[in-house]
């Protein structure tokens, strides 16, 4: 059992590719304007207080790098706000800090530009955790 990442399940079948295209279209309509989704296909939006962490230029999934500038600006693009800085602010506001204490899995790059909803359905990724009882981020394994 590998907990660091979910194993790739091989080439998608024809119906999967067909369905993925349509579901991705639907997902784009919702997730792009609402959460700034980057279509990584391995959605962790529910863990990151509904701001897409993949807008980070380094595509970090486990929190901010050490290069945040004064006032929470990005290291690589000084005019942009660090997305993890915003995630932390919103997670605190939404009482979802406990989600940030988990170690996120390594990304499967084969899933780029595929539908995350379909990937949950076909068990290519783990289903999102929408709620956990624990409130202490240091207590989450």
């Amino acid at each position: 059992m590998n907990t660091l990442f979910t194993r790739d399940k091989g080439k998608p079948k024809y119906w999967e590719r067909f369905l993925s295209r349509w579901m991705l279209w639907g997902e784009n309509c919702v997730k792009v304007p609402l959460f700034g989704c980057q279509r990584c296909g391995e959605c962790i939006l529910s863990h990151t207080a509904f701001i897409c962490s993949q807008r980070c230029p380094k595509r970090l999934r486990n929190g901010p790098c050490g290069g945040i500038r004064e006032g929470g600006y990005c290291e690589a693009y000084p005019e942009r706000r660090c997305v993890w800085y915003r995630i932390y602010g919103r997670a605190r506001w939404m009482h979802r800090l406990a989600f940030l204490g988990r170690i996120e899995q390594i990304h499967n790059w084969n899933l780029e530009k595929t539908s995350a909803w379909l990937n949950v359905f076909t068990k290519r990724i783990k289903p999102p955790t929408l709620f956990i009882w624990k409130k202490d981020p240091y207590d989450v394994a």
Partner: protein, 296 residues
Amino acid sequence: MTLREKIETGKFLVTAEMGPPQSNSGDVLRKKAVYFQKGVDGVNITDNQTAIVRLSSIASAKILLDEGLEPVIQMTCRDRNRIALQSDLLGASALGIENVLCLTGDFPTFGNHPEAKPVFDLDSVQLIAMVTQLNEGRFLSGETMKLAPHFLIGGGANPFAEPLEFRVLRLAKKIRAGARFIQTQPVFDLERFSEWMGLVRKHGLHEKAAILAGVMPVKSAKALLYMQRDVPGVRIHHDYIQRMEKADSPQEEGIRIAVEIIEELKNIEGVRGTHLMPLLWESIAPRILEESGLLH
């Protein structure tokens, strides 16, 4: 004694950082190695820091190993995907290198090849978890290997970047993933560092990993101002800048400040050692260690 054993013993540790040259000259490293022969428990070799091409970290580590030092290689996720990371780690282990510091890495736009493709296949927390798995004798894919490496894993921490609470949480993640020593960014703001250490102690993280606070001796006020302005994530107390500007001999003042900071760090509960970063000024390391009573 290796760094791993020294961490167990509980003595005040000293690690130092060395930047490899921007050429294939191994002699530069051999010359610099002289300064770290005494009193230094581990020498970090940076992995193309600030995204500027330099002599490879692993090759430099091998040179230092032959000089009788204990090298700590840095591994960044900037340039390698999971295949290259694992292969390089196995290579390092085969050469006899036992310590690895896992970092995310600077973005390529800082360096001399700003057009390069940033890789960032893994992030530093996942890299630490992957090295832990390699230590257990399994590749990331889950396949077993015949002979497992045994790395002492380290992580980086930046107590000075916002948001402070998230910094400590991310440190906790790194320690949970398997980091056994933590090296911080250079301390130029003791107030903020104490605040961060307070949170680290609150969650008991200093008991699970050795925290080595960064100390950087600087030569001039200009260097400090440059760091404050252009290096993201560094915070410098204005007192130090003023002192450097007023000093008759900025170099002496820089040494005095570094020694002062080390003395203060010794008194902070939970700090297990110091990580000296004499950027392009390695020759000053023995003097700083002597003045702060760390030459033993």
